[in-house]
């Protein structure tokens, strides 16, 4: 693509600009030996020119690339005969798509007539022209900016300060991306969720007991009004999360205690990295293991015990998720236990209590807030976990507390609603964003509380 070449050329121009700027600054004061007469080191004059050559040109390139497709489509549509131009927006959209596909030489879904062919040729011509314009403009801009900066070089020019100011702004921009991401998440989820709540009342979503998100594609279809009561999803999420916590909290806590208090340094040196491996396994792999190994195993174990177990039971997903979370719980519990001052521990041991008594009666109560904070983070992780439940928990929105039955979760439904072909403004797809909003808000609250508690108590004993 040409923009890649263009960016490469810009990079080349930046290097050239650097050397020209540097040379001019030295030439102005009479060569290498006289650098002291300059305000800044010669290199800064080079950077100064390079920045002026590249930044404006790059900004132009960015704006152009963002605006170009829309402008070209508008131009092509304007060039169509009236009969085509006055089509309803949906059909017009389809037409534009076809034109673009035809222009790119792809398969087109309708018969190609003259109008379409002409439009595609026009489209290609516009693209070609736009590319040429862009190249000339960007390179011109770079040359102009560089030349102006080059002319402005003077021994008194505070080049270092100017360059450093640009660097500072770049750093600020980079660090605000984190804020922008959060804002982006909130806005993108919120807007679609509001559109969803215009179609489905909030109370039905929050308190309705029936979830079957099948909406009609055609208006005259039967039995497809769709119902969006999300309570079964919430209980399903809660059930799986509870199972995961029942596994992860005691095991993680006892692991942390054992490794911190009882084990020899050698065992700790082996066990800790192994548990970290457990934390590094991708969730999709856990999902595969849950669905193909653990679930059948639980099913056959249940059958031999006379219990009816669904092939996609909440139990399998919950147990595997719990194992996934063990390292998180144990490392946060480890932090909390280590933050307790050793004077407390030594005092209790000195009074004659056993290690387990020291642990349960002195250290754990002192570390409790930190541990609770860690558990909150683990809960948030379990609620947001997707792949394990998608692969092992199933799609049936059952309102049940029976761990042997199949349940579905918020994340599973987000995935099933958005994977596949839907029109984007149907209640079905919008529901995914409403669920996403719920998920984001709940995990955010858990994270904020958990993180602040963990940090507060880590500092308190330091």
């Amino acid at each position: 693509m040409q923009s890649t070449t263009l960016i490469l050329m810009l990079g080349f121009m930046a290097i050239t600009a650097f050397f020209y700027g540097r040379r001019r600054s030295l030439a102005l004061v009479g060569g290498h030996g006289h650098g002291m007469a300059l305000h800044s080191l010669p290199g800064y004059y080079g950077y100064y020119v390079a920045i002026w050559a590249v930044l404006p040109a790059l900004a132009l390139l960015l704006v152009w690339v963002m605006v170009e497709p829309r402008v070209i489509v508008a131009l092509v549509v304007n060039g169509l005969p009236d009969a085509y131009r006055n089509l309803p927006p949906g059909e017009l959209n389809l037409l534009v798509n076809n034109i673009q596909n035809l222009a790119a030489g792809d398969v087109v879904s309708v018969d190609v007539d003259d109008v379409l062919q002409n439009a595609a040729t026009m489209f290609n011509a516009y693209v070609e022209k736009s590319r040429q314009f862009l190249a000339v403009l960007v390179l011109g801009m770079a040359g102009l900016g560089g030349a102006m900066a080059w002319r402005r070089i003077h021994p008194d020019l505070r080049a270092r300060n100017r360059v450093e100011r640009v660097i500072r702004w770049f750093l600020i921009a980079a660090s605000s991306i984190a804020i922008l991401t959060t804002i982006g998440i909130v806005l993108s989820v919120l807007f679609e969720a509001i559109r969803f709540f215009q179609k489905v009342p909030l109370t039905e979503f929050l308190f309705g007991l029936n979830w079957s998100p099948q909406t009609a594609i055609r208006a005259d279809q039967v039995g497809s009004s769709g119902s969006f009561g999300a309570v079964p999803l919430f209980t399903g999420t809660l059930l799986i999360t509870s199972i995961a916590m029942v596994v992860a909290v005691p095991v993680g806590l006892m692991t942390a205690i054992y490794l911190a208090e009882y084990s020899s340094a050698r065992i700790r040196g082996i066990a800790k990295p192994l548990l970290e491996v457990l934390a590094g396994i991708p969730t999709v792999v856990y999902g595969f293991f849950a669905a193909l190994t653990v679930a059948p195993w639980i099913r056959s174990a249940g059958e031999s015990a006379g219990i009816q177990v669904a092939s996609e039971s909440a139990l399998a997903a919950g147990i595997v998720m719990g194992i996934m979370i063990i390292p998180l719980v144990s490392s946060l519990a480890d932090d909390a236990i280590n933050a307790v001052p050793s004077a407390m521990r030594d005092g209790a041991l000195g009074l004659g209590s056993t290690r387990s008594e020291t642990m349960t009666k002195v250290i754990l109560p002192a570390a409790l807030p930190g541990i609770v904070g860690g558990i909150l983070l683990a809960v948030s992780r379990a609620i947001g976990e997707t792949m394990i439940v998608v692969m092992a928990a199933g799609l049936a929105a059952n309102l049940t507390a029976n761990p042997f039955e199949a349940v579905t979760t918020v994340t599973v439904q987000i995935v099933t609603l958005l994977v596949g072909d839907q029109e984007f403004d149907s209640a079905k797809t919008l529901a995914a964003f409403a669920l996403g909003l719920m998920l984001f808000v709940v995990t955010l609250i858990l994270n904020v509380i958990g993180l602040s508690v963990v940090r507060k108590y880590r500092e308190q004993y330091d």
Partner: protein, 427 residues
């Protein structure tokens, strides 16, 4: 009085001792048990993975003497690779091998022994070397996945005929070919050189690996510089005020936001608003950038914090500006720690699949992507797709793909560990 009192206290304590020791013992045992659970699971997991997956690196091939007859391939004297009847050649050769299969039904069953990939193999052979036309070639072509499963012992020949994918006749022919030395288990190259396929014996991970590579490329190019820049600003320049506190809380929270929410962001912003193409590694890379940024920022900040203030003060004292201090002294010293954080961030990005489902990277894509905007999937998503496939042969391929993925992750994490060990500096 006093002596008897201490005695009773002492006696009380001693009376309680066995119970307390027992409790202590149980507590310790519980701890050992808990630690063992994680490790046992890990062992179980790897054992089952290896037991299941290693067989996928071998594949059954069938040796056929195929006559590349000109009459069949180029009936009008003109060879058209797209329409030439390579299938017919394979079938003729197969019939010659098993002459007793006569009648339509028998023959149809016979043809199912060999993979459809055999015809593609012939086509590629002729395309590369048209001179071979008219000769008889002895070729190893892939057997169908059911035959492969039978050879590997995954299909039980002793159960009722209707319950297995191969009929008694087919099994008989396979045994016959085996006895003649016409079946052989060879290294499964297709697994590494092919894209996805509906036929298990032809399905490979190359497309998914390339998709992952392109995505990680985008992620690395964007998230490392941005993450380092953000960390530098927050550690070295930002005034301690509400704004920087907000950024800090924000970053810590972003690190804990469920990854699927980032997928929703990518869908709404990159695909619906910015109109970037669906299923493209470019969009996947952008989403993963946002996902790994907090990880890299947090690690980079820790690395910068570890540089002692004396370095900064010495440089400042010699007249360097604050920016010079950072870029000439702090950054080079903190770089190993930052790189370690970046590699860990990348390995997290490599294993991530939930957000990619949101932006359409779950499509069935046969072609190996050649650029950032080609439709592609990623390795973890390929695992997800194969795990959902009903064919028995895909299960072992899923395990093989997992082994490959874990191999990549292992290499990345080992690099990070070695980097940390070698570059680590004690001040």
């Amino acid at each position: 009085m006093a002596t008897s009192d201490t005695k009773t206290t002492r006696q009380k304590v001693e009376a309680g001792l066995p119970r307390r020791r027992r409790k202590e013992f149980t507590f310790k045992l519980l701890g050992m048990f808990a630690t063992a659970i994680g490790i046992v699971f890990l062992g179980l997991f790897f054992a089952s993975l290896i037991a299941e997956g290693t067989s996928a690196f071998k594949q059954t091939f069938l040796k056929l003497d195929i006559e590349l007859s000109e009459d069949v391939l180029a009936p009008g004297g003109e060879l058209d690779l797209a329409y030439a009847d390579f299938d017919g050649l394979v079938r003729t050769a197969l019939r010659a091998e098993i002459p007793e299969a006569s009648g339509r039904q028998d023959r149809r069953e016979l043809y199912r022994i060999v993979s459809v990939g055999a015809a593609y193999q012939l086509r590629d052979l002729i395309a590369q070397n048209p001179d071979l036309m008219g000769t008889i070639q002895s070729l190893w072509v892939p057997a169908s996945s059911n035959v492969d499963m039978l050879i590997k012992g995954n299909i039980d020949a002793n159960i009722e005929e209707a319950l297995r994918p191969l009929s008694d006749k087919q099994i008989g022919w396979v045994r016959q070919l085996q006895d003649k030395g016409r079946l052989e288990s060879r290294f499964n190259r297709a697994l590494f050189t092919n894209g996805d396929s509906r036929e298990p014996e032809l399905a490979g991970i190359k497309g998914a690996v390339m998709g992952s590579v392109y995505m990680l490329l985008v992620t690395m190019v964007l998230s490392f510089p941005i993450g380092v820049a953000a960390a530098i600003y927050l550690e070295e320049f930002a005034p301690r005020n509400r704004w920087s506190d907000l950024i800090e809380v924000n970053i810590n929270n972003l690190a804990a936001v469920p990854s699927i929410v980032f997928g929703l962001l990518g869908l709404a912003v990159f695909i619906n608003w910015a109109a970037l193409p669906r299923s493209a590694p470019l969009v996947g890379g952008l989403v993963l950038t946002l996902l790994t940024l907090p990880v890299i920022i947090i690690a980079s900040r820790a690395a910068i914090k570890a540089v002692p203030p004396s370095i900064r003060e010495a440089a400042l004292g010699l007249g360097a500006s604050q920016t010079q201090v950072v870029f000439h002294h702090v950054l080079p010293l903190a770089l190993p720690g930052m790189l370690t954080g970046a590699i860990i961030g990348m390995s997290r990005a490599l294993g991530e699949s939930a957000p990619l489902l949101m932006i359409g990277m779950v499509a069935f894509i046969v072609d190996v992507p050649g650029s950032l905007t080609d439709p592609a999937t990623a390795l973890p998503v390929q695992i997800f797709l194969w795990a959902d496939s009903p064919e028995r042969a895909f299960a072992e391929r899923t395990s093989a793909a997992i082994i490959v993925l874990l191999g990549f992750l292992l290499v990345m994490n080992l690099t990070a560990v070695i980097l940390r060990k070698r570059m680590e500096r004690r001040w």
